[in-house]
C-alpha cells in the first residue's frame, strides 16, 4: 500500500493543478514518438509520423496526447486507490491494445521532462522526487493486470 505524506499530496495536487493538459499532453506524446521512435508501432493509423516536425504537427497525436494525459486526473483525485483506479485501463492496454508496459515508463519519463520545461526551477529536486514517485505508482498500476 503506497503511503503519501501531506507534503507529497500537496505537491502532486499543486503540480497537476498547474499542468495545462491541452498543451502538455500533445507535447508529451510527440516527444515519446520522436525520442523513442519504436513506439510509433502502436500508431499506424495516425498518418504522417515520418519526421519530428510531422509528429509535432499531427492532429491525431495531439488529440491522443490530451486523452492520455487527462486520464492522469483519476489518479491525482484518488491517490490512495491508484491501483484499483487503473485496473480496467491496465486490462485494456494488455488484452486489447497489446502495449508493452515498458512504454508506460517511457511516457512517464517524457512527461517529467516536458513538465520540467514548463515549470523550470519550480520543478526542484524535492518536487521531482514526489512527481516521479507518483508516476511510478501510476506505471505500476497500469502494468498490474498484465498477464
Amino acid at each position: 500500500m503506497v503511503e503519501w505524506s501531506d507534503s507529497e499530496r500537496k505537491t502532486i495536487a499543486s503540480v497537476w493543478g498547474k499542468i495545462k493538459v491541452d498543451k502538455i499532453g500533445p507535447q508529451t506524446l510527440a516527444r515519446v514518438l520522436i525520442v523513442y521512435p519504436w513506439t510509433q508501432r502502436y500508431f499506424g493509423s495516425f498518418g504522417n509520423l515520418s519526421s519530428a516536425s510531422a509528429v509535432l504537427a499531427n492532429l491525431k497525436v495531439a488529440n491522443h496526447g490530451k486523452t492520455v494525459l487527462n486520464a492522469l486526473d483519476k489518479a491525482v483525485k484518488n491517490l490512495d486507490g491508484i491501483k484499483a483506479t487503473y485496473s480496467e485501463l491496465s486490462q485494456l492496454h494488455c488484452n486489447t491494445l497489446n502495449v508493452d508496459p515498458d512504454n508506460f515508463r517511457l511516457l512517464a519519463d517524457c512527461l517529467t521532462i516536458v513538465v520540467a520545461t514548463s515549470f523550470r526551477s519550480e520543478f526542484n529536486p524535492a518536487v521531482q522526487a514526489t512527481w516521479q514517485k507518483f508516476l511510478s505508482v501510476v506505471v505500476a498500476a497500469l502494468s498490474s493486470r498484465y498477464h
Binding site: R31, I113, P125, Q132
Partner: protein
C-alpha cells in the same frame, strides 16, 4: 542505436550553447539524482554533506560534466576516447552501470529546466542517444 552525423552535429551545437553552464548543470543533475534516487547515495557515504548544492556535490558535478565535455570532443569514437574513464569506473569506482541511466535522466531533466526552448524533441533524442553511448563507453571495461 549509434550516433548519426545529424546526432553528432546536434549534440555539438547544443553543447556549444550550454557549455558555459556546465558546472551548474552538473551540480543540479547530481543533486536531483541523490534526492530522487536515494539508493545512489550509497556511493557517497564518505561525503559530509549530500544535500542539493552542497560543496562536495558542486565539486563532483563539475567533475562529471568535465567528463561529458571530454566525451563531446571525442564523439566520433567514444569507446577509445573514454578508455581511461572506463577503467576508472570499472576497476576503482565500480559504480553499477544501471546508475549511468539514472544520472543521464537527471541531466536531461536539468537541461529541460534550464534550456526549455533549445531542448526541443530533436535535441532531446540526440542528447539521449549521446548519453546512452557515453554510458556504454564507460561500461566498456567492466567485464
Amino acid at each position: 542505436m549509434s550516433l548519426s552525423a545529424k546526432d553528432k552535429a546536434t549534440v555539438k551545437g547544443f553543447w556549444a550553447k550550454i557549455a558555459g553552464k556546465a558546472d551548474d548543470i552538473g551540480q543540479d543533475a547530481l543533486s536531483r539524482m541523490l534526492v530522487v534516487y536515494p539508493q545512489t547515495k550509497t556511493y557517497f557515504a564518505h561525503w559530509k554533506d549530500l544535500s542539493p548544492g552542497s560543496a562536495p556535490v558542486r565539486k563532483h558535478g563539475a567533475t562529471v560534466m568535465g567528463g561529458v565535455a571530454e566525451a563531446v570532443s571525442k564523439i566520433d569514437d567514444l569507446t577509445s576516447g573514454l578508455l581511461n574513464l572506463s577503467e576508472l569506473h570499472a576497476f576503482q569506482l565500480r559504480v553499477d552501470p544501471a546508475n549511468f541511466k539514472i544520472l543521464s535522466h537527471n541531466i536531461l531533466v536539468v537541461l529541460a529546466t534550464m534550456f526549455p526552448n533549445d531542448f526541443t524533441p530533436e535535441v532531446h533524442v540526440s542528447m539521449d542517444k549521446f548519453l546512452s553511448a557515453l554510458a556504454l563507453a564507460l561500461a566498456e571495461k567492466y567485464r
